[in-house]
């Protein structure tokens, strides 16, 4: 119902709208990804690295002071504790193993907040592979710590200078690189976007999140299903991971949180589901922000990781069908929620993640609701932004 079909679509969304130059690459991946993921040696290596290298399982933490404040039972899924500080590495570990099995020697990636770039540079260092990361010029400036990390890890960071000089443009550059290097290069896409099979493959690698939530909740609450799962949505990978095992169980309500920027109708927003229309972006039919004329518009969010005019096809489908509720959070609301979590629970969240934590003014929960929020990343990369914003 809510998962991908065998043609690579979620309902009417998805597919692989790619230039012929990419066909051999994408087709090779499409034909092999499920087979490779099912190999025992792949599973073993993936699980082992997630455990010993990434530090999984990430805890499911009952946030007492936050729960008290909002009078409901809030669990935080601590992806911020993963190696490199976000959920992104679940996917890059999976894809680097995939790339190795496909015989690739060179890795490219796009990045917005830099978390995916760092996660990619990290696994490339781990495997001794060449790594090129494309990053919008604006994002290079606003996520400087992550740029420094990528360099330390031996990756080359190339600026995307066109368009809004953010995630969308970095993705364009990465795709151009891939077109130019079709044989030896694997493109590690960082979210559940791009042509089929990327959205499905990335979702499957991230699905470890909801798999763990299930048994962790069972341990803590005596049942494996929460009442709500909440996650922010840039491309949608952390949400896909947190929702995955609950997609077909409609007792579990799903909440996707988008960046409203300076306000949904301010002209500076990244609230794709509300502002977007169906179309094609980066190889996938989905919802995207565009002009009447079909030109992709430049989104805006204070958070580099949510500053993307599209959304993964799974989420377009969840929106269209009403399976997930979509809430938009402004810059100001997110920043305030980020500070609140820091001071109530001692956890500084990524600004992306802070959007998820700001829903309590938009949505009331019952006292005995179990609400799981995917704490997709830590805020170390965002300190300067927080400091500047709050004049700390």
């Amino acid at each position: 119902m809510y998962n991908i079909n065998d043609k690579g679509y979620y309902g009417e969304f998805g597919g692989a709208y790619i230039p012929e130059m990419l066909y051999p690459n994408v087709e090779e991946l499409r034909q092999n990804y499920l087979k490779i993921m099912a190999e025992p040696s792949f599973k073993e290596e993936f699980d082992q690295l997630l455990k010993d290298y990434v530090g999984r399982p990430s805890p499911l933490y009952l946030a007492k002071r936050l729960s008290e404040k909002y009078n409901t039972k809030i669990y935080l899924k601590r992806e911020d504790l993963n190696h490199t500080g976000a959920h992104k590495i679940n996917n890059t570990i999976g894809q680097i193993l995939m790339a190795q099995r496909l015989g690739k020697k060179r890795i490219i990636a796009e990045t917005g907040a830099g978390q995916h770039g760092v996660a990619t540079a990290t696994v490339c260092a781990l495997m001794g592979m060449e790594c090129i990361v494309y990053m919008g010029e604006i994002d290079i400036a606003r996520q400087a710590p992550n740029v420094a990390r990528m360099k330390m890890l031996g990756a080359k960071v190339l600026p995307a200078l066109s368009g809004s000089r953010t995630l969308k443009d970095a993705t364009n550059e990465a795709i151009r690189d891939w077109i130019n290097n079709p044989v030896n290069t694997h493109y590690i896409i960082g979210s559940v976007v791009g042509p089929h099979p990327y959205p499905d493959m990335v979702a499957r690698f991230q699905a470890v999140v909801s798999e763990e939530i299930q048994w962790q909740l069972q341990e803590k609450e005596g049942k494996s299903t929460p009442d709500y799962v909440v996650a922010c949505v840039g491309g949608g990978s952390n949400a896909a991971g947190a929702f995955y095992h609950y997609l077909e169980n409609t007792d579990v309500k799903l909440i996707a949180v988008e960046a409203a920027g300076k306000g949904i109708h301010s002209g500076e927003s990244a609230a794709t589901s509300i502002l977007g229309k169906e179309g094609i972006i980066h190889g996938s039919k989905t919802l995207l922000m565009q002009t009447d004329d079909g030109q992709i518009t430049e989104p805006y969010s204070i958070s580099a990781g949510l500053d993307y005019p599209g959304v993964g096809p799974m989420h377009a489908h969840l929106y269209k069908t009403g399976r997930a509720e979509f809430i938009s959070i402004t810059d100001d609301e997110a920043m305030t929620a980020g500070l609140e979590l820091s001071q109530l629970e001692g956890i500084i969240p990524a600004i992306e993640t802070a959007h998820s934590l700001a829903i309590f003014d938009h949505k009331k929960f019952k006292e005995d609701d179990v609400v799981v929020i995917n704490l997709s990343g830590r805020g170390d990369k965002d300190l300067q932004n927080y400091i500047d914003y709050f004049k700390l």
């Binding site: 709208y17 230039p19 012929e20 066909y23 066109s162 368009g163 079709p182 972006i281 980066h282 079909g294």
Partner: protein, 254 residues
């Protein structure tokens, strides 16, 4: 008979030129087309600019961005072209990305092309299979040829499939690269040209990507029916405006 098919019957190597509509200035479109025809160009690809042209290199991308800033839209282009067939008779192909066409409505888009006298479309991000399943009938209903691409990495089976559903020519990407990336052809490309020629496809091939001068044009057309020049022509426009188009075309054909 479609002008493209007619043109392909001519016993000569065909020169096809690409430019981004609305560049250098919004209203240069018609004059560039007329000039190109006058100077002996065989086929023209009119680029409908797109915000995110991910199969294009920096030159074409920059001209696209500029064209959009100049005010180019799908409607503006169609309006500029509405009387084009009064002055121009060579084949005209619109090359653009799929999203703007989708927003226009694919059927409406095709109909408008037909009304104007556009002969074909090149849509790099509309995959062959999606085209075949969903849009082929619409294109054909409006007499439009969809030009499909092959690359050095395209498998024999896939080339045969593409040949089987093509009705004009095959756009043979010289190397797997975005436009404007390479200069000059090496052994690898020559072998690829030969390999494809030897396949004796139903549709003639026109080579694109990496053609910038008389030498590369000759190399590319040694075995293929023609060649397409994009970035090199855009660079010429950037430098000289619409004035010295004759010089540019002459330098290719000599």
């Amino acid at each position: 008979m479609n002008r493209i098919n007619q043109k392909l019957k001519e016993k000569k190597k065909l020169l096809s030129i690409y430019f981004s509509a609305g560049y250098p200035s919004l209203n240069d479109t018609v004059s560039i087309i007329e000039n190109l025809e006058k100077n002996g160009v065989d086929i023209i690809e009119i680029g409908l600019p797109f915000s995110d042209p991910l199969a294009d290199g920096p030159t074409i991308q920059a001209s696209s961005t500029e064209a959009l800033k100049n005010g180019m839209t799908t409607d503006v282009l169609f309006n500029q072209l509405k009387d084009i067939r009064k002055t121009v008779s060579i084949p005209l192909i619109i090359m653009g990305y799929f999203n703007p066409m989708l927003q226009y409505g694919v059927e409406d888009f095709c109909k408008r092309c037909q009304d104007i006298g556009v002969d074909g479309l090149i849509i790099p991000d509309l995959p062959v299979d999606v085209y075949n399943d969903q849009y082929k009938a619409i294109f054909e209903k409006h007499g439009l040829i969809n030009v499909l691409l092959i690359t050095p990495q395209t498998s024999v089976e896939r080339i045969n499939f593409i040949d089987s559903i093509s009705t004009g020519f095959i756009y043979m990407v010289s190397s797997a690269s975005v436009t404007g990336s390479n200069s000059g052809f090496g052994e690898e490309q020559t072998e690829y040209f030969k390999r494809i020629a030897d396949m004796k496809l139903k549709n003639p091939q026109i080579v694109g990507f990496g053609i910038s001068d008389n030498e590369t044009f000759s190399q590319a057309t040694a075995r293929a029916k023609g060649a397409i020049i994009g970035s090199a022509f855009i660079k010429h426009l950037t430098k000289n405006g619409v004035n010295k188009i004759d010089a540019f075309v002459n330098s290719i054909l000599k």
